[in-house]
Symmetry: C2
């Protein structure tokens, strides 16, 4: 079996080849710029692992893996325009470094390039296309939520499932198809990816409020200060409304600088939102592992995906 590090090195090598192969012009240079920024490559590595798990050589899933990573980076390029984000992975976003039109057009061409990779195996496209549309739906919901004040915790979960988790499902399912998995194997791996992706995103939000800044590298409560509607905050507000109190709502009504983030964090704990969040994350992680364990493949082959899951889950709150 290939180690996770070997998979990752293979992905990096192919991405470097890909970046070197595109012309140096206004359409392609921003693609290569974004693709070369240091990243974990979770999705393409997951594709190769799923392929090996299902019994195939990782090489048969390589084009799917690269196609998904290109598609993922295309969504980042356009999301950054829509969110007007100045930085990505510590570097200027494409629209900040060039301009919004360049980011729109280069992103469009990047989607075409993703399909170029995904055409290698005709079994991939119908599956990929369904997931690609779901990712767009997730981003649409995310944008719609910004204008709403009544988003429920359940709606938020569905939004991050579509926007974030399904692309990991897709990565795993395309790997499973490449490796020759049957319908049960494909579905199990897709569900494993979805639960893992959800746990990852929820954990990310949780760490922002309750994590150790020395470990996470982020300022504690940055999301709360920005008023970002995470599951944690939405659930906190729901619980608060039920009790008739209003510290969270009151703090959100203040300006960002005046906001008492420490008090909000204490309030989330007191309301029980912290415990609920932790329990939710753990149940997602448990469901992910159960899916993996239940798959009809030899146990020893599951080590790589177990390691991947652990690396995503192991971050400490």
């Amino acid at each position: 079996m290939t180690t996770p590090e070997e998979h990752r090195a293979a992905i990096e090598a192919r991405i470097n080849e890909w970046c070197a192969s595109v012309p140096n012009d206004s359409l392609h240079t921003p693609m290569a710029y974004l693709m070369r920024l240091p990243a974990k490559r979770v999705r393409p590595v997951a594709t190769l692992m799923a392929c090996e798990l299902a019994g195939g050589p990782a090489s048969s899933a390589m084009d799917a893996a690269i196609g998904i990573e290109i598609f993922h980076n295309f969504t980042l390029m356009h999301d950054d325009v829509m969110d007007a984000s100045p930085t990505r992975r510590g570097q200027p976003t494409v629209h900040a470094r060039w301009n919004a039109n360049t980011a729109i057009l280069s992103g469009d061409a990047m989607m075409v390039k993703a399909y170029e990779c995904l055409m290698t195996d005709q079994r991939w496209l119908p599956v990929f296309n369904r997931y690609a549309l779901a990712v767009c739906e997730g981003q649409a919901q995310d944008m719609a939520f910004e204008a709403r004040h009544d988003v429920s915790a359940a709606e938020y979960m569905e939004m991050i499932r579509l926007k974030t988790a399904v692309l990991l499902s897709c990565a795993l399912e395309l790997g499973a198809i490449s490796g020759g998995a049957d319908e049960q194997g494909r579905r199990g791996l897709a569900l494993f990816g979805e639960r893992l992706g959800l746990a990852f995103q929820l954990r990310d939000d949780h760490i922002d409020a309750f994590g150790d800044p020395a470990v996470s590298g982020k300022q504690r409560g940055g999301d709360l200060r920005a008023g970002k509607k995470t599951w944690l905050l939405i659930r906190g507000l729901e619980l608060e409304r039920g009790r008739g109190e209003g510290l969270l709502a009151a703090e959100l009504g203040r300006s960002m600088v005046a906001r008492d983030v420490g008090a909000m964090i204490e309030c989330l704990t007191a309301l029980g939102a912290r415990d609920e969040s932790e329990a939710l994350i753990q149940s997602m992680e448990r469901e992910a592992i159960e899916q993996l364990d239940a798959l009809p493949f030899p146990t020893e082959r599951k080590a790589a995906l177990h390691a991947l899951a652990s690396s995503l889950m192991g971050r400490k709150a």
Copy 2:
């Protein structure tokens, strides 16, 4: 043989079905809005005609035809954002009616929906993908030209070939493939489309300066007043520089309201740019017809594409 009107009616019916089939949400409603605006449907009609010419039933090319029309409308949605255009086909553009983010995201999802249609026949995608990238390259060149003052007439031709003409090539080639044409038939139809597309765009620019406003429905010289770099203006500036005169350049240096468009039109005629433009358009049209006539299909089957070409070429300057 199917008449052009029957092809068009079939396309409209399928577009209406498609628009009715998408959910009524922020992602899909703008797609249906744009697709429903009255349009000539030149590309999808050309696909069906090419299929019948090659000996296939038009129905076998229908998904390709719709996919290309969806892709074309996706490019319009994003181009309108990039150009900040307020109207399209006499109606507000998607970003004007909703907002830029909606236009970006709905356009992205529209590309996914185009691929959904284009997956029906696995012979289509590799061909389509090459053309789709070329369309992006054309738009990139168009944007790059805005910042340059030394674009040559030859560079402009290559830009409109990519941005405008190749999608008509693509429409015809996918039709040819669906109808079972061999390599020669595919290439001939693609080249017919490219020449026809170039002639159409050049004619459009020509009519703006020299056409009868009563026929074209446009104000004469609108492009010149806006300082739009058409082939005509670029070639006029080239000729003017060769002669050491400078009326065109001087008028372009003035503000739009102060610009003497009538004098610019006279100048283009005096410089010989009008005659060159007319000759160029006619040579493109001739080459298109020669390609069509040379195709190894029964002459009587070519009537539909001859009629399509005539309708595009017949507009009077």
